[in-house]
């Protein structure tokens, strides 16, 4: 016996254009119906007092028998002498577009039905466009119910001309247009005597001419990690090879993060010892060097790694009940990667049934059944390919409210590879040299710049209060931030220093150096020190990268500060118990050109904090980094 080849086909088209009837007929004509099935349906029809319908065969569920609409994607099988077919009967009702997409997404070829009496309808066009978007290239268009139009060739040709022109707009050439009558079985399994003018094949001949998809073994290797197993002493990386070929001894790079190791073995059960695995196979591998690898990373060969970026263009179709607004955080799943993402902008909205472009700015969201061209931004860089180049790593779904609500294909485009920025290596000809994590890389991940907000002013002016409040606000905005103040510096880092001028200078120098390290680490530091001397502050500024240092003069008259005296220090200073107290027994040199002045005698703490945040925003401290 030879192996049974299998081809998955989807049947789509406008509601009531006869899909279910067609499938019923197909089954009957290929002798694929179980004994008694037709009699069972006939009996059910009689009981309900309705005429016999082939459609009842597919519509297995009670609800559908009542409503006469195919709700869910059903799959059934039939055979020709050549092979076995899996039929996915996709519903035509607009409400059920998600089922059509579910059905079509797994198909290798499509039959699209158009009712000869109604002609090309909204869903005929929408389905045609979506088939193209889903990557189905083997399409036959069946013009059904020809019997109701007297089997006239003109009717058929008119529909063919109109629909051909529509498909041509996005580059689709159907394999065949076939005039049929599903109800009477014309041109299904046998050529129609009623339509001698049709010289093309029957539906069954067309189906047998389609080819079965084979996994892409000759394209670049993509092996997304699905899981890491440690059932015994082996550490096995499990996954399915989506494209290419993997061999023992191959050097693999794991994207993102670009760790490199070599394939030690391919683990299979019950028989091991394989040296090669190909696209389509779910395998497990072990590595010679134990590097940290996790689910979601994609293994490839060094010479042809995937793109790595946190922003890309895509064509997206949306099926969610809730709109997808620009900027709303949802989950993206691409192979085995899951990452938070958002639509950064909508470039184009397309009415899939007319191909008319709708105003992308008319609304900042994508609604159910919309197709749009969008820019997607992910929270962390992900590895992917252009859909045109590699299908499995070039498409993704979006999960909203725990359900898959949309899908997209990554558009052709030049993506500057983040690999270089992130790790100092180029994607082409990758060599993992030092793996230095740069400040830029940290800032990109953090999505904001590092820097220092240097608060200076008298004791009691409100520096600590502002610092604490500012830190809280920045933290809630999602920034990485930290306050350095007397409380956490004087007791440790500067524990050996007093308040003499030279000690103050040294204290400020240490604070500035620490602040610089924080800024380099990508943190937005807030310092709260009196820092009374201009020279000291100038030194602090000079240590920082230009633009990193934001000097904020927290200004309140000394009388006001003395009145506040939150720690009772002025009192002690006046009593001579504290030497070198700024404003009393030591000078304070106000800044000459600070970036900001906040007047705490006239402003609330909230106002001062808002003023600082406004300034930081103007400086694009939290800007999204464009490519």
């Amino acid at each position: 016996m030879t192996a049974t080849e299998q081809l998955k086909i989807v049947i789509v088209g406008h509601v009531d254009h006869g899909k279910s009837t067609f499938v019923g007929r197909l089954f009957h004509d290929t002798n694929s119906l179980p004994d008694g099935k037709v009699e069972k349906i006939k009996a059910a029809c009689e009981r309900r007092g309705v005429p016999f319908e082939w459609a009842f065969l597919m519509d297995g569920l009670q609800a559908e028998r009542d409503q006469n609409i195919t709700i869910e994607t059903a799959q059934i099988w039939f055979r020709t002498p050549k092979r076995q077919y899996v039929i996915i009967d996709a519903p035509g009702h607009k409400e059920f577009l998600k089922n059509m997409i579910t059905g079509a997404a797994s198909a290798e070829a499509a039959l699209l039905l158009i009712d000869a009496t109604e002609g090309v309808q909204e869903q005929s066009r929408r389905h045609g466009y979506l088939l193209h978007l889903l990557g189905i290239r083997q399409i036959a268009v069946l013009v059904n119910k020809m019997d109701l139009k007297g089997y006239r060739e003109e009717t058929f040709r008119a529909i063919e001309t109109e629909y051909r022109a529509f498909l041509k707009q996005f580059g689709v050439e159907p394999t065949w247009f076939i005039p049929i009558s599903a109800y009477h079985g014309e041109n299904i399994a046998r050529p129609s005597a009623a339509m001698p003018w049709h010289h093309g094949p029957t539906v069954l001949e067309t189906l047998d001419s389609f080819s079965v998809a084979q996994p892409e073994q000759n394209l670049p290797l993509r092996f997304p990690i699905q899981d890491v197993y440690r059932f015994d002493d082996r550490r096995i990386l499990a996954g399915r090879i989506e494209s290419g070929t993997l061999r023992v001894g191959d050097k693999l790079v794991f994207s993102p993060r670009n760790k490199v190791s070599v394939v030690k073995s391919i683990e299979t059960w019950p028989v091991g010892g394989r040296t090669e695995a190909k696209a389509g196979e779910s395998v497990g591998i072990t590595l010679t060097e134990q590097i940290y690898v996790e689910r979601g990373q994609i293994a490839s060969h060094e010479t042809d790694a995937p793109i790595e970026s946190d922003v890309f263009q895509a064509k997206l179709f949306w099926l969610g009940r809730q709109n997808l607004e620009v900027g709303r955080k949802v989950k993206l799943k691409l192979t085995t990667t899951e990452v938070e993402c958002q639509i950064q902008s909508i470039e184009k909205r397309i009415d899939a049934s007319t191909l008319n472009e709708m105003d992308p700015n008319a609304r900042g969201y994508i609604a159910r059944n919309d197709v749009a061209e969008v820019t997607v931004r992910t929270k962390h860089p992900v590895a992917f390919d252009n859909y045109d180049r590699l299908v499995p790593t070039g498409r993704f779904v979006i999960v909203d409210g725990r359900q898959v609500c949309g899908g997209g294909i990554i558009s052709k485009g030049e993506y500057p590879d983040r690999r270089e920025v992130l790790s100092g290596i180029k994607s082409t000809n990758i060599t993992w040299v030092k793996g230095e994590v740069t400040r830029e890389a940290r800032e990109r991940r953090n999505r904001h710049k590092g820097g220092v907000v240097w608060l200076t002013g008298l004791s009691g002016a409100g520096k600590s209060t502002i610092a604490t409040e500012l830190e809280r606000e920045l933290f809630q905005m999602g920034l990485h931030t930290y306050v350095l103040d007397g409380d956490n510096v004087r007791h440790g880092l500067s524990a050996n220093l007093g308040f003499a001028p030279e000690d103050r200078t040294e204290n400020i120098r240490r604070v500035a150096e620490v602040a610089k390290l924080f800024a380099d680490a990508g943190v937005l530091v807030v310092t709260a020190f009196i820092s009374p001397y201009r020279d000291d502050r100038r030194l602090a500024r000079s240590i920082m990268k230009q633009g990193d240092f934001v000097e904020v003069y927290v200004n309140a008259p000394v009388e006001v500060c003395e009145q506040r005296d939150p720690k009772g220090l002025y009192k002690k200073a006046r009593a001579g118990q504290i030497k070198n107290f700024t404003g009393v027994s030591a000078p304070y040199e106000p800044p000459e050109a600070p970036e900001l002045v906040v007047h705490t005698d006239r402003q609330t703490v909230g106002e001062s904090v808002a003023q600082i945040i406004d300034y930081l925003k103007q400086q694009h401290i939290d800007q999204d980094f464009a490519i």
Binding site: M1, A3, T4, E5, Q6, N31, L33, P34, K37, K40, A44, M58, D59, G60, L61, Q62, A63, I71, E72, A74, Q75, I76, W77, R79, Q84, K98, N99, I101, T102, A105, S106, P215, Q226, D227, Y229, F231, D232, R234, I236, A238, R240, E267, T268, W269, P270, K278, G280, E281, S282, K331, K333, P392, R395, F396, V397, V399, R402, Q403, V404, G407
Partner: protein, 266 residues
């Protein structure tokens, strides 16, 4: 890759997704041909291991041949066997003479509900295939069931490009169907290729064999000369009998099986 390789690797991918995503995952193990296939695929997926419990639904009307194979493989394959039985219903004398669907409801459906609750399973691997029955044709690979174990067939989330709906609301559990895309013939082609152990009841003796196995009183053998894999496949290629026509409980009304399925039956 031939079609069996394709089926196999797709199923392995699904099993691995389930294992990664679902806490407290278990499989329903009837020891019938489909669940034998899953068990075999699991050992391929997890490099020789079966890393989840195998739940056997005992009704007290079980075929002795299935029990014998179950106990042998539990030993040989080091399986974590969990036996579920609705003792309360059995104590009250539940049996098929009280109505086949009633009996299935108590000894299988209710039994299943109880074990899922007791063991707090987050997901169940089940060996249903789309070609068995029209209601199963509408299944997804990952199919959520609410806390009453009901299946909302009219509004299932889309499942595309092998991205499954694995994020669950509280009170739901997932049914995972790794064999959904297989047909009965595929099961036998694969069993032959891989030499998967199955009970001898499937092969004809004295002109009869079983095509589908359930409880003793409700499962009928068919007339058949198919005593080898090749003959079984040849028989299936030409048969116009449906697979579940030998299961008596399905025949009680037009939608008996559908109602059972909606309420949580496999």
């Amino acid at each position: 890759m031939d079609h069996l390789d394709k089926l196999e690797h797709q199923s392995i991918f699904i099993l691995r997704e389930a294992f990664h995503k679902i806490e407290r995952l278990a499989m329903l193990w009837s020891v019938g041909k489909d669940s034998q296939t899953i068990l075999w695929l699991a050992r391929k997926a997890f490099c020789g291991h079966v890393p989840f419990p195998c739940v056997f639904m005992e009704t007290s009307f079980d075929m002795p041949e299935l029990i014998a194979l179950r106990d042998r493989l539990t030993q040989e394959w080091k399986l974590n066997l969990v036996i579920a039985r609705n003792d309360a219903a059995l104590a009250q004398g539940m049996n098929h003479k009280l109505g086949r669907v009633t009996c299935c409801s108590a000894l299988l459906k209710e039994n299943l509900k109880q074990i899922v609750e007791k063991e707090n399973y987050g997901g169940l691997i089940v060996g249903v295939r789309r070609d068995e029955d029209p209601t199963r044709a509408k299944e997804r690979y990952f199919s959520p069931r609410d806390k009453h174990m009901e299946w909302n067939v009219e509004d299932q989330p889309p499942e595309l490009w092998d991205q499954f709906n694995t994020d669950l609301a509280g009170g739901t559990h997932l049914r995972v169907h790794p064999l959904l895309h297989w047909t009965e013939i595929n099961i036998w082609e694969y069993a032959q290729r891989e030499n998967i152990p199955n009970v001898p009841l499937y092969f004809a003796q004295n002109g009869r064999r079983y095509r589908s196995l359930g409880c003793v009183p409700c499962t009928f053998s068919i007339e058949s000369q198919a005593d080898t894999y090749d003959k079984i496949r040849e028989e299936l290629r030409t048969t116009t009998q449906s697979e579940r026509s030998v299961r008596a409980q399905d025949q009680e009304s037009e939608d008996a099986f559908e109602k059972l399925r909606r309420d949580g039956y496999m």
